[in-house]
Structure formats: C-alpha cells, structure tokens
C-alpha cells in the first residue's frame, strides 16, 4: 500500500510535468509550425540572426563559468567562522538578488556610465559598460548569489569536516584539500548552480536590452522582443515563437545529455558516520585578505549601483545633480499611487503561493529523479525555464486561456512552469549529501515513509528548501513580462506599475518602485535568511530537563 501511495505521487508529478511543461511547449510548437518550415528558414536567414544566436550562446557559456566559481568561493570563504565581519558579508552577498533585473542595467549605467555617478564624483567612467563586457559583468554580478546560496545550502546540508581533516592528515595542504575533497563533494551542487545560471543567462532579456543595444550587441531574446513588437503581423509573431523554441532546443541539446550522463556520475553515497564537529580555526592573513577582497567586490558590484539607484529615486529629475537641494519624494508618490499598492499586494500573494508550491514541486522532483520512472523529469522541467517569459506566457495563454484567461491563477501557473527547475535543482543538489543510512535507520526505528520524510529528510534538506523558497519567491516577485501579459483588470501585478512608469519614461519613478520593492524584499526575506543561518548552524538548545541532568553528571 506504501507502494500504491508511491505510484500516486509519481503519477501526480508526471501529470504536473505534462500540464506545466508538455502542453504549453506543444501549443507553442503548433504555433511555430503555422508558418510551416518557411518561418524556420526565414528566422535562420534573417539578417543578424547568426550574430544574436552567437551572442546568446556566448553569454550563456561565459557567465556561469565566472559566476559559479565566484559564488562558490564566496560561500566557502564565508563558511569559515573566523572571517571578519562575517554576518554583514553574508547579508551583502545576497544584495544583487533583491535588485530587480529591470533596473539592474539602469542602475549600472547610472553608476558607471559617462556622466554617471562615478563620473560626476571622480571623473571616471567605464566606456565598456555598454557592450558585451558590460553585459557579462552585470549578469555575473546578478547570477553569483544563486551559486552562493546553493553552495551554502549544500554545505549546511551535511558539513563533513572530518573528510577534510583526513585529507590534511594525509599530507594535503588547504588548497589541495579544497581541490581534491571539498569541491568534488560539492559537485552535484555546483552542477545545479551551473545549469541554472546557464539557462537563466540564455533567457535573460533586461540586461542585454539596456546595456547591449547601444553597443550593437543583440541577443536572441532581444530579437524575440523586437519580433513581438511587430507581431500585429502574424508572421513576426510566429518568428518570435520559433526563436523562443530555438532557445528551448539549445537548452535541451546541451542539458539533457549532461543530466543523463553526468548527473549520476557526480553523485556519491555518503556513509553515515558522524562527520565530526566544525571547529573555529585560527584567523590568518589569507582569510582577512580574502574577506577584504570580497568586501571590495561587493562595494563596486552592489554598493555603488544600488546607491546610484537610490539617488535616482530621490532626485527631482534626470540629469540634475543628486544634491539634497534636488531631493524629493515625488517619484515615490507617483510610484505608489493608482493601482500600484494593490498590484504589489497581488504580486506578493502570487510570489508566496508560487514559492510554497514550487518548493514542494522541486522537492518531489528531486526525490523522483532518483527513480527509474523520473530520471528524465529533471531535464524536462528545465526547458520551460529556458523560454523567455513573454513566449512562455503566450504558450500558457494558448493552452489554458480558453478557461483561465485574465485570472491570477493563470499567472500562478506561468510562475510554476517557469520556475520549477529553479526549485528542483536547488533541492536536488543537496539531496546527494544525505547518507541513505539515515533514512534506513529511521525505518528500522518504526518510521513509515511519511515520518521519515518529516523527521529525517525535512531537517536534512531544510537549508536547501529555504533557499529554494527564497529564490523562487524573489524571482516571482520581480517577474514582469509574464504577468504583464496575462493580467487583467482587478488583478494587476507589480509588472503593470513597473511598465507604466517605464512607459511614461519616468526613470525616477521606476527607480523609486524598485527601491520600494527591495525594501519589501529585505523585510520579507530577512526571516527566511535568519532561519537559514539557524539551520546551517545546527545548534539547538537542549531540553530543560537535560540541562539540569548534565549539570550533576561528570
């Protein structure tokens, strides 16, 4: 009967995959085929296609290669209890996460472009910002927190310091230990981070649009957007869809083999011996140096742009010096009047609902993945992550609009479809670190599957689950394209307000809006972050009666 319950779960998951991934993709494929094979060749031979495709692929390959090591290194550094200002750094590292993508490019131009913040202040500006290099840098900064969080969650899942000590005692110095033990044990986590960053970059739009265009740097996603803006002509619409599916194909071609071949290889079965306690190591010069380096990075990559953004939000008009004389709250008033407040409410509801559902879906998938039945599911759900929001939204509209058009629920579905992979990979990376013997011991102690889930897997995976929740929540809250396409009167989301202010060309208002949003996030995410820290510290107060006993023992 446990078996039947099992089968039920599997069936439900398969159903969800079909509904959220299969159907929309199928309907999009149908749409693309409207134009026959003609549209494909038209797309392929359109001027500039090759360049855009190359740019997209280049970004998707380069960004993870820089961002993932950066994030992982940060996590490994901040895991050391002896890092100065550790707590503060741990918070700041997450900052890029809370700055919405739709102002990211803008905040950087504000900060570093000619006549920007640093130019006014120090007379230095960065010409390369608009162009490939700028795009890569900003995307890296934006992506680093992801791998940082995944790595941190992984380390928190099962820190096994004794494995590293064994390496030291076998003659390996710190670096060699990192290379030969710590990192290999993190492989599944790093793989997850790489895949997610790869796809997210492949699909990113806002940053290339703002920073790429002036340098003549177009990507597939910007082309899709261009096609859509001309899509009152059905042909261009079909082109857009075809391009989007192209992205899916790229993702599939690169990821599916990696998942099926590499995935299992990276996994290791832990044995259940207690991993030894983490002990404070003496602070040395290298640690301090690294911390300083990190602080500097955060200042340049997060501090200055954010500051520029805040200044823009409180400055009367663009182009006037951000001196107190020119400060005003008008931007905030404009930002918050009209439907904005309600829409923020809606977005929060959606984000919370999506995050909760996604954390569950992700966990379920991570579990099924290890069965023969669910092996390929992981590679399937990532496909919808690869489609630009606008197109995926159309896919869902086509699939379910007949019944759900204009409701919040359709937007929720869109979020689930889009972000499932994000939640799944986050959890999946951590699962491998939990020794199977722990679950076996629980069952031999009389725990049924449900109890094992609650008492062994949940605590073990808690850090990963919190991170999954956090990531999906933030992403959903920032989401603009899908909801702006699926909303209707009465259930406006934040996107509507954002696009409105953008459409009015009121940079200040957009800035103000994103500042509000950031504050909201900080308020909302702080508890989750604290929770994560508690879990990763894994020190829970002893029950009262024990404390008493221990006193007289020994």
């Amino acid at each position: 009967m446990a078996g039947s319950r099992d089968r039920l779960v599997v069936a439900a998951a398969l159903l969800a995959v079909v509904a959220l991934v299969g159907v929309p993709l199928y309907r999009l494929a149908q749409t693309a085929s409207e134009g026959g094979t003609g549209s494909i060749s038209r797309v392929l031979h359109a001027p500039g296609f090759a360049g855009a495709a190359w740019h997209s692929l280049m970004l998707a390959l380069v960004v993870p290669v820089i961002a993932v090591p950066l994030g992982a290194a940060t996590a490994l550094l901040l895991r050391r209890p002896d890092v100065p200002a550790r707590r503060l750094l741990q918070v700041l590292v997450l900052a890029p996460l809370v700055v919405p993508q739709f102002v990211l490019g803008y905040s950087w131009t504000q900060a570093y472009s000619q006549a920007g913040f640093t130019d006014q202040l120090l007379g230095v500006h960065w010409a390369g910002l608009t162009g490939p290099v700028g795009v890569v840098v900003v995307l890296v900064v934006d992506a680093a927190p992801l791998s940082y969080l995944l790595t941190t969650a992984g380390l928190a899942t099962r820190a096994q310091p004794d494995l590293e000590r064994a390496a030291r005692a076998s003659g390996a110095d710190g670096w060699t230990t990192l290379r030969t033990v710590t990192l290999p044990l993190l492989r599944p986590v790093l793989a997850a981070a790489t895949v997610l960053t790869f796809v997210a970059t492949l699909e990113t739009f806002a940053v290339p649009q703002v920073l790429g265009a002036p340098g003549g740097f177009s990507t597939l996603t910007t082309r899709i957007y261009a096609d859509l803006s001309l899509a009152s002509d059905p042909a261009s619409f079909v082109d857009a869809v075809t391009l989007a599916l192209g992205l899916v194909v790229v993702a599939a071609v690169i990821l599916a083999p990696a998942d099926l071949v590499l995935g299992p290889r990276l996994r290791t079965t832990r044995s259940a011996q207690a991993g030894g306690a983490v002990r404070a190591s003496r602070r040395d010069r290298r640690t301090i140096g690294a911390a300083a380096l990190l602080a500097g990075y955060l200042l340049l990559a997060v501090g200055v742009p954010t500051l520029a953004l805040v200044l823009a939000s409180i400055t009367r008009a663009v182009g006037v010096p951000a001196t107190p004389g020119n400060w005003t709250l008008d931007n905030f008033r404009t930002a918050l009047d009209g439907p904005t407040v309600d829409s923020i409410g809606h977005s929060l509801q959606l984000a919370v609902a999506a995050a909760c559902a996604l954390t569950l879906l992700g966990a379920v998938l991570a579990a099924l993945e290890r069965r023969r039945a669910g092996r390929a599911l992981g590679s399937l759900v990532i496909l919808t992550f690869a489609i630009p929001g606008s197109t995926l939204a159309v896919g869902l509209l086509i699939a379910y609009g007949r019944w759900l058009s204009g409701g919040l629920f359709l937007i929720l579905l869109a979020y689930l479809a889009k972000l499932w992979a994000l939640a799944h990979r986050t959890v999946s990376g951590a699962v491998d670190r939990v020794p199977p013997a722990e679950a076996q011991a629980a069952r031999c102690s009389g725990a049924g599957p449900a109890a094992v889930l609650r008492t062994v897997w949940l605590p073990a995976l808690a850090p990963a689950l919190v991170v999954a929740w956090l990531l999906t929540f933030v992403t959903a809250l920032h989401e603009v394209t899908m909801s702006s396409l699926l909303y209707s009167t009465g259930n406006e989301t934040l996107a509507v307000a954002v696009l409105n202010s953008q459409q009015l060309g009121e940079v200040g208002t957009t800035a103000a809006l994103s500042v509000v949003l950031t504050l909201l996030l900080v308020v909302g995410a702080l508890p989750a972050w604290v929770l994560l820290r508690l879990l990763s510290r894994r020190r829970v107060g002893a029950p009262r009666l024990i404390a008493a006993r221990v006193a007289h023992a020994r």
Binding site: A2, R158, S271, A272, Q273, A274, G275, G276, A277, P435, A437, E438, Q440, A441, A442, R443, C444, S445, G446, A447, G448, P449, A451, T455, V456, P459, A460, R538, V540, A542, P543, L545, I546, A547, R549, V550, A553, R554
Partner: protein
C-alpha cells in the same frame, strides 16, 4: 526449535550490483534465543542482518518473521512493519538530533508522548552510562559514545528480534558486558530473540545459545558454542571459533571418542574425533591451546619443541612452539616463563581431525590458522 521461530531464513541470497554477498543461507532463531553470527570481515554478516531488517531485498530465498513471510524475491515488507531493533555497524545516527531525541525516536514512532519517550530514553541512556551526553549531537560524541547511542536506539524499539551488527566493537569489556546483560535480560523478559554479529570468538562463545559461522556468504556451521569450538566442520570454521593450531599427523581411530595420534614421536591415545580414518592415515589435526599441556620442568612430555615466539596476554601467555609436526600454539597462565629459543616438551589430551575437503576452503580466503606471530619481527 518451536514451530514458529522468531526468524527463519530459507535459502536466502543477496547480491549487490553483481557481487554475490550471501547465498543459500538457512537459519532459524527461536524465541529467547541469542544467536551469534560469527564470520570474518566481508563474510556477509551485515548483509544478512540488513536483509532480515528489510533494508536490502533478497535476490533469492525467503525470510520469515514470527511465522509471516516478510520478504522473497518479489515482495518485501518495509522495515517499520517488521518488529526488529537494529544496531548499525556504522551507528547511522542522525546528525540533526540530539542523543535524547535520537533514543526517544523509536518510542515516539510507537506512539508514546514526547515526555514519556524522553523519560524512558534518559533511563536507557543511564543504563548504558551515557546520560551525560543526552543533549549533544552525534558529532560531539566519542566513537564508543556514538555506538552506545546506537544501541540505546535499538533497545528503545519494542522488538521481537534484535539485530546487532558488531554492537560492541568500540566498547571496553565493562560496557560490553553491561550491554550484553541488557540484551539477554530483554530477551528473557520479552521473549524476544537476538542475532549478534561479531568476529570476536570469545565473545560469541560466551554470549550465544548457538553460533552461526558464516564465511564467504555461506553458512558454514550452526551449532552450540562448545560444538563449534571443539568440533569445527572445517579448518575455516576452526579458525573462526578461536585460537588453535593445525598440524599434520598420522591418525587412526582408537575406540569410542578415542584417537591414536602420531606426531612423529610415537602414537599417543587421546580424546577426540572428527574425520577419523579407520586405518592409520595422515590427516590434518586441530589442536586447541587448552588441549595442549606444556611440561616446563621435567622432560616426560612426549613431544619435543622449541619456543619460536612469545606473546604476553595478561591472564596468560601465548607460546608458539616449533615441533616436528609443525608450529603449535600453547597457552599458559601467568607472564612469560620461557624465552624464544628455549626447548619445551608438551603433551596433548584431546585433538580433532579436520575433513580433507577443506584445504580449498582455506586456500580461497587465505586465512591460515597459524597466524603471523607479532613478536618476532621477521614478518
């Protein structure tokens, strides 16, 4: 053995990804019985216990618990629905639970209130002498403390059968016997049974009602401690059940339970048995240390020898003595009274003739009986 044994394995076989770890094991355990599972490293002890617990599925045969079939090649009842208490060789403690909650865990699952479970857990921990670590996490415990937490957790489950996988490997004699007493008491009180995997012969012999010798995944012998010690079915079995020496000698039957043994110094008539040939024939002869009597003073011991190695073991001293028939292990109470090279004459009052078909068995696990002698460093 009663009609409904607590445990019955029929032709049980287990394979791991091709590796055949267990095959054709037939085993029955009655209520109140403590069976020692004695075997060398890698012989399949843990595998057998895991199969009975329901952690690994058998690839062949059946497992019956209290008259119900719980596993065969097709189906398998999950561990939580088998009334077994398991001690894992590698403890398998939960890093996120403090000791108290770990031991309370099985009782919570059995539906007891948190406070009741904790109280019972405390009591159990105290009986195993680790009440003082109740609020610690496994990572903050010494090896033996971890192991005792594992023991407490197993005992905390109200089981019909306890599966103990080298439960005392990290415990000193005192704790070891305290725990064994605990288990025996439990078996008597509740009519439960226990299967106790170990490779410490002395421990197995003292503790168990019956000893199951397992080697290379097969059940070699299953009998009472005294039988497996004095009448091992094979040289491997002999090696598993305690110290001893195997010499080649000419042997013949000399009446009931009597042997005529010629160690190259004329025939001696001694107690014993085994694969005894009618007419005098060369055979492999097992001599346990307690069957050999050294004669330190005089020279009326029939067999001559020369001390090749000496090992002080506290209550007694091991003397490895070279003699015409081969190297023989002699134990004598007290500290060493002879040095390497000293002559010594000795006598035997019992011997056991090993079957011939066993040289192979010895070959394939390489565990010869004459063990490397640690005191002479030519090894």
């Amino acid at each position: 053995m009663p009609a409904d044994p607590v445990l019955r394995c029929q032709d049980l076989g287990v394979t791991y990804a091709g590796v055949r770890a267990l095959s054709g094991v037939d085993l029955g355990v009655a209520a109140n019985e403590v069976v020692a599972l004695l075997g060398p490293s890698g012989s399949g002890k843990s595998t057998l216990l895991h199969a009975v617990a329901g952690i690994v599925a058998p690839s062949a045969g059946e497992i019956w618990l209290a008259g119900h079939r719980v596993a065969d090649r097709r189906s398998s009842v999950p561990p939580e629905r088998r009334a077994v208490g398991m001690v894992f060789q590698n403890f398998a403690l939960w890093p996120h639970l403090c000791v108290l909650d770990t031991v309370a865990y099985p009782m919570r699952r059995a539906g007891r209130s948190r406070s009741a479970a904790r109280a019972a857990a405390i009591e159990l921990l105290d009986r195993l002498g680790i009440g003082y670590v109740a609020d610690r996490r496994p990572a903050e415990l010494s090896g033996g403390e971890q192991q005792r937490v594992g023991l407490a957790r197993a005992l905390a489950r109200n089981a019909r059968l306890y599966l103990l996988d080298e439960p005392t490997a990290h415990l000193d004699t005192h704790l070891r016997e305290a725990f064994q007493a605990e288990v025996l008491a439990r078996c008597v009180d509740t009519g439960a049974a226990a299967v106790y995997a170990t490779h410490d012969a002395a421990e197995a012999l003292r503790l168990a009602d019956r000893v199951a010798l397992i080697d290379g995944g097969r059940l070699v012998q299953f009998a009472s401690p005294q039988t497996v010690y004095a009448e091992p079915v094979s040289e491997t079995a002999a090696a598993l059940t305690g110290p001893g020496s195997v010499l080649s000698a000419t042997v013949r039957a000399a009446g009931p339970d009597r042997l005529g043994v010629d160690l190259g110094t004329g025939e001696l008539t001694v107690l014993g048995g085994g694969a005894v040939p009618g007419a005098p024939r060369p055979a492999r002869l097992l001599l346990r240390p307690d069957w050999v009597r050294p004669d330190w003073l005089g020279d009326d011991g029939p067999v001559p020898g020369r001390v090749a190695a000496v090992g002080f073991r506290g209550t007694h001293t091991d003397y490895h003595v070279d003699s015409p028939a081969g190297r023989v292990l002699i134990q004598h109470a007290g500290p060493p009274m002879r040095a390497v090279g000293d002559p010594v004459r000795w006598d035997i009052h019992r011997a056991w003739v090993l079957g011939p078909g066993d040289a192979s068995a010895e070959g394939d696990d390489g565990a010869g009986l004459v063990q490397p002698v640690v005191d002479d460093v030519e090894v």
